[in-house]
Symmetry: C2
């Protein structure tokens, strides 16, 4: 999240992923040095198994707004996010957009039962991912069923997240949606070991609107509402402070 901290304290620390040029990172970041492994499906693998995985892993870097793949493209790869934020969305022919979710470091992308992707994926900010050819990955899964178990667990979790989102989209008011969203971001950050209170909000109002089933104007108004009620505070761009989490929770749950 930020530029190359030039005055680095330790010049030869384990390479927090020394900002790669597009696509050329394969050998610089073997799975063994992965900084987000504990967050990802790869946590199910031993050191040896990681080496085998590295064999067919390539790396991708995306600029803000750059697409990773589009809906209906052949689903030739699966991915693991290593840095940055992505959005995953579907479009209607007239341009209406629904964001299914945002992806953060450690998240797995590409679970699908179909030969083509069921949605599009774009970078929200600068992002890097591990890329695995689907076929190789499937073969790998056959050899290491504990990875498959992990994937099932990931899928189950995503399913319950999706159901929570259906409740939001089908039944909550704009204010409730906003409160839910901010709390989700906060909890998610904490689970990943990041700070959960002044939360980082890397996505635009338009992305938030498309995620919450609203318009940018309504998102803006809802934020203003919560701000004027003293429940949140807008810090510098991309950061929001939760000033009264309890009240936000009550709103989010629909009390």
């Amino acid at each position: 999240m930020s530029g190359p901290k030039t005055p680095s304290i330790n010049p030869n620390l384990p390479q927090r992923q020394a900002k790669p040029r597009p696509e050329i990172v394969a050998d610089l970041s073997p799975c063994g040095a992965c900084t987000v492994r504990h967050l990802s499906v790869c946590s199910a693998l031993s050191a040896e198994e990681l080496v085998q995985l590295s064999d067919f892993t390539t790396h991708v870097e995306l600029q803000p707004g750059q697409p990773l793949f589009g809906e209906a493209e052949p689903a030739n790869h699966v991915f693991n996010v290593t840095a940055g934020t992505l959005k995953v969305y579907k479009l209607l022919p007239d341009g209406r957009c629904q964001v299914m979710g945002f992806l953060f470091p450690g998240d797995f992308l590409g679970l699908a039962n179909s030969a083509t992707y069921a949605f599009s994926a774009d970078a929200v900010n600068t992002a890097t991912l591990c890329r695995f050819p689907r076929k190789k990955f499937a073969e790998f899964l056959l050899k290491f069923p504990q990875m498959e178990k992990k994937l099932l667990s990931v899928a189950s979790h995503e399913l319950s997240v999706a159901q929570e989102q259906m409740l939001l989209l089908g039944r909550k008011t704009a204010k409730e949606r906003l409160a839910s969203f901010l709390l989700t971001l906060s909890r998610h950050a904490e689970r990943r070991g990041a700070q959960g209170n002044p939360i980082s909000v890397p996505m635009s109002r338009a992305d938030i609107a498309d995620y919450l089933g609203l318009t940018t104007e309504t998102v803006s108004r809802a934020i203003t509402l919560l701000k004027k009620a003293g429940l949140i505070g807008l810090e510098k761009s991309g950061s929001i402070a939760l000033l009264d989490s309890a009240a936000l929770r009550e709103i989010a749950e629909g009390f």
Copy 2:
């Protein structure tokens, strides 16, 4: 659908699942005789494995409207629907309800990563299910990884269904939601080998509304709209004919 058709043409037809009494069906329907196995996760199992599964399987029958389990209850069982229709839903404290989906014969229920259920499940009409203690089922999975693979595939599919539903809830109009719903029912029926055109609609307007994020009144109006446009026809209660599937598809997709 409807009362006991007294003037039945064939008095001893092949007993479409000779209506069991509540709960006493365990020995009458071993997995080997299951009529919906080809639709369910059990299709991944051999005859021998089915016997092992039968060992810890019990059967449940639910009357219309009867709950199977409620949100936040300890998730002690997983289920397979063998007959009838269920609805799976979440509630907000003030009573707002969102139906996450309907379950039909062959559907698996209980994928969850948590010690408690994340939603409630009620019977829509008379329904029967196989019930497996979660712990036993988990042990069973360890022994038969092909079942786990099947579950992963089921979960992936459910995930993409959920995403389609998010698009519907977040971005479609009432008319579009209705058209999408009817087409989904039709396709689902066909995939299960039932007839896909005069579709069976076992759930109430209220259930449909809670599934589509609308009110019963709006559902009713949307149905009237499609009917007046000649796209659908209301047959006897619980049955709807799709008179112009192509036009319905255009509406559903948002053209």
